[in-house]
């Protein structure tokens, strides 16, 4: 593996080939906020919070650092007025769903985001996809997935798989930044399980 030298926020950073900007930055102790990133999972690029500015041969552009690969001589800026403004907006948009998420509240404080800028939405889920991807990529069970698409997209457990796999696993629970996942799981469980009076303690 050859070594790459790049510059992040004015600091010389060493990275291995194939590393993303985010990985390179974190290895050098430079923090970039993320919501949908997880080191065991394929980069998803969904939350866009890890957006940074890169300069290459005089061209500046905004990219998301969880996907963009580190390159030799790349000049990266992780904070600027524009980057902060975009991150603030992303946090505010997500707080319409999960105003009480501790993770979002911490980010809101850092970026001066207003938790009540937008009218509240019905669902807590911020579609980071951590539960869905973790179950598919790490556990290889696909017990939880996305249904529908776009603004109507929601996470949903597949009852047939969830009934068998989830009760002893629940590894996705702590990944969820908003606790929507537990709610969805409990709901599905409740819907799927027969009424307690007819069949008590039938848990597999």
């Amino acid at each position: 593996m050859s070594e790459i030298l790049l510059q992040i926020d004015g600091k010389e950073v060493k990275a291995r080939e194939g590393m993303t900007i985010l990985e390179a930055a974190r290895s050098a102790g430079i923090s970039i906020p993320t919501l949908c990133y997880h080191e065991k999972l394929e980069p998803y690029g969904g939350c866009r919070l890890c957006i940074v500015e890169v300069e290459e041969r005089g061209w500046k552009k905004l990219v998301v650092s969880c996907v963009y690969l580190a390159e030799e001589n790349l000049v990266v800026t992780t904070r600027s007025d524009k980057i902060d403004r975009i991150r603030k907006m992303i946090i505010e948009l997500l707080m319409a769903h999960a105003p009480d998420s501790v993770e979002l509240q911490n980010l809101a404080q850092e970026y001066g985001a207003d938790r009540d800028r937008f009218e509240k939405e019905a669902s807590f889920c911020i579609h980071c996809g951590l539960c869905v991807r973790y179950c598919a990529e790490v556990k290889k069970k696909n017990a939880v997935g996305f249904v529908d698409r776009g603004t109507r997209k929601e996470i949903s457990f597949i009852p047939e798989i969830a009934a068998k796999e989830c009760w002893d696993c629940k590894e996705c629970f702590p990944l969820c930044p908003t606790s929507a996942l537990q709610a969805a799981f409990v709901l599905t469980k409740a819907l799927y399980s027969p009424p307690p009076s007819s069949e008590p303690e039938s848990e597999e």
Partner: protein, 641 residues
């Protein structure tokens, strides 16, 4: 049919086809694209066959059901060849007269001709009609001459000669160089130079490479790709095969939306016959080059028109764009180098190879070469598909070809580039259409949609409409698009309902910036355009809605009231009777009054009030005048002198 094994055999075969065709034999061509099928082309065709049989002419007259001619406003269209007498808006009952008069007697049936609305002159030949006269139909022109289900028809108009030329007389580098030199830019949206895209794939180290046709045309009102695929599928296959040869690909895909059944049918027939003839498959025309094509039907997601989402869908997964920063021409379908071009781009390739890059580059502007097909819809007299050289001024397309705005209304704006394009106002009508010119004006070429709007169109509502479409079609993967558009849609809806607040414009601008800068794919990045371009040219309309609760176009229902001017009302009872909400009070000789509480703002009274009275008006941004006193409502008839 045995395979054609060399360019010489192809020319021999072509001669054979042409020698069997008598150019003087009467031939009725009838356009049978999806649009005209919907207006009865099928019934007309059945009637033609029946009538020919009845009049004992079945063997003496050919019928050819062609693809779309473009003038859909006046379809179905019949052209009687060889005289090329053209008839419009044909109904089955017109057929007997056409056959007995025009086919038998060579006489023109006046009432079926096109009448020029300006001069009232009847026009016999299609090519002389203003709609066609000002076009340059290089790509689209053959549609009206061939039966898309007949490969012999395509061969009769020199089809597959470009493929033969490329495979026999040119190296793959030569082909690539020619396309690069032509400066052909992608007709699907981004306008990326096709040659450069091809070159990247060609030079990529992988052995396996793919070529793909993007026929996932999803813009509301746009149907040029459908018409090409339905009407001239071989031209796209030929272009694709030439591209595959230049790149070194042996497998191609056509990603076509399921909602285009006729296109799917015709392209499948075309592939099958092309394989039989030896234009696809192993050792094409004896050149040693192998190439096969597979049709894949999309499931109806707008986002699958985006290149990486399309490839993900082709792989059998949910059609969502990829987040990677690597061009798909280097790592695309199944991570192999893949060239994706849209239907119209591929259809240009045989022309460039046959006639040369210099010929091609004589059309168009410095930055945009060749022609472009536009789908002209909305408040326009001549709805249809038009092909013009790049650089044609917008006003020529809208007024000379499109015939201007119907019903005596005034032009307000034209929306180009599909839902994520932008609105161009009247003061920019001299703009010459081209990729860079449209982008500079805050819109884009997109795939060539053109939606014309008249003075009755509210630009805030237009932005709301397109943002609504895009919100609905967002794949939902990234926050700036999914959540940002959701909020933009809410705010815009509120503004059109009179609930706009101070600061809404600034908030919309901030949301637009977030989507533009941070969204994952090109669709998300361009999604705020309908808002940004209408704000740029029609800011006063936004401000009127928010600050004065007034809709200047008198279109937003919740911001207008219908009011009957007592000085003009003749108490004729028409509006009173037609009002579905029974919201109009009055009587014979009693001036009518709209009960604002009951009024549903359907606009019926406004439409039915006789223009010579013009008593019903729309009011916005000001209170409705109080009703006049009861005693003044009685109209006393003047005594006749």
């Amino acid at each position: 049919m045995s395979r054609i094994n060399s360019p010489a055999e192809l020319e021999e075969f072509r001669k054979g086809i042409l020698s069997k065709r008598d150019p003087n034999k009467p031939c009725i061509t009838l356009c049978s694209g999806s649009a005209c099928n919907a207006t009865g082309s099928g019934e007309v065709a059945a009637r033609i066959e029946e009538e020919l049989q009845k009049q004992g002419l079945s063997d003496e007259v050919d019928i050819r059901r062609t693809g779309c001619h473009g003038f859909c406003e006046r379809g179905p269209i019949i052209i009687n060849r060889p005289e090329e007498i053209s008839y419009f808006q044909i109904k089955p009952e017109d057929v007997p007269e056409i056959i007995s008069e025009t086919i038998k007697e060579k006489k023109v049936v006046e009432r079926l001709l096109y009448t020029d609305p300006d001069t009232n002159e009847k026009i016999i030949h299609e090519s002389e009609i203003p709609f066609y006269k000002h076009q340059k139909r290089l790509v689209f022109g053959s549609n009206g001459n061939i039966d898309p289900k007949s490969i012999d028809d395509y061969l009769a108009i020199d089809g597959y000669s470009a493929l033969a030329k490329a495979l026999s007389g040119m190296t793959s580098e030569d082909v690539l160089e020619e396309v690069k030199k032509s400066n052909l830019r992608g007709r699907g949206g981004g306008g990326f130079p096709a040659g450069r895209k091809w070159e990247g794939t060609r030079n990529a180290p992988d052995e396996i490479k793919y070529v793909i046709v993007n026929a996932d045309e999803g813009d509301p009102g746009a149907y040029m790709d459908r018409s090409l695929l339905e009407g001239n599928p071989h031209s796209i296959l030929e272009g694709l095969t030439i591209g595959a040869y230049a790149i070194g690909s042996h497998e191609g895909y056509i990603y076509v939306r399921q909602e285009y059944p006729l296109a799917v049918e015709n392209v499948n027939i075309a592939i099958k016959t092309a394989e039989e003839y030896g234009f696809l498959g192993k050792n094409i025309l004896g050149s040693g080059f192998d190439f096969k094509v597979i049709v894949h039907q999309g499931a109806g997601a707008f986002v699958c028109g985006e290149s990486t989402a399309l490839m993900t869908a082709l792989e059998g997964r949910v059609g969502e764009p990829r987040p990677k920063y690597i061009r798909s021409n280097i790592k695309g379908l199944w991570d192999k180098p893949s060239v994706l071009n849209n239907v119209e781009t591929w259809a240009n390739v045989p022309l460039i190879i046959n006639k040369g890059a210099d010929w091609f580059a004589q059309f168009g502007t410095e930055g945009s070469k060749g022609t472009k097909i536009f789908s002209l819809v909305g408040k326009i007299t001549n709805t249809g598909l038009v092909e013009v050289p790049m650089g044609t001024p917008l006003k020529d397309i809208i007024f000379k070809i499109g015939g201007g705005i119907p019903n005596g209304r005034k032009f307000k704006a034209v929306q180009t580039g599909g839902p994520s394009g932008g609105c161009i106002p009247e003061e920019l009508l001299d703009l010459e259409v081209g990729f860079d010119e449209l982008t500079k004006a805050g819109s884009m070429m997109g795939s060539g949609g053109m939606i014309v709007m008249d003075e009755d169109t509210c630009m805030v509502d237009v932005a709301r409409y397109f943002i609504d479409f895009l919100t609905d079609e967002s794949c939902g993967k990234c926050v700036p698009c999914r959540e940002g558009l959701r909020q933009m849609h809410k705010i815009l809806t509120n503004i059109t309902k009179g609930k706009g607040r101070e600061g809404d414009i600034e908030l919309l601008e901030e949301l637009a910036e977030t989507a533009k800068e941070a969204a994952l794919c090109a669709l998300g990045k361009s999604a705020p355009n309908p808002f940004l371009s209408t704000l740029r040219y029609f800011r006063d309309e936004y401000e009127a809605h928010i600050n004065e609760k007034r809709c200047p176009a008198l279109s937003c229902k919740e911001l207008i009231s219908f009011y009957i001017d007592p000085a003009k009302c003749k108490a004729c009872m028409i509006c009173l009777r037609k009002c579905p909400a029974e919201a109009i009070d009055g009587g014979k000789n009693k001036i009518h009054i709209v009960d604002q509480e009951k009024c549903t703002k359907c606009g019926t009274c406004f439409e039915v009030c006789p223009p010579r009275f013009g008593a019903v008006t729309k009011i916005s941004g000001e209170p409705v005048p109080s009703p006049i006193p009861e005693e003044e409502r009685i109209i006393r008839k003047r005594k006749k002198k």
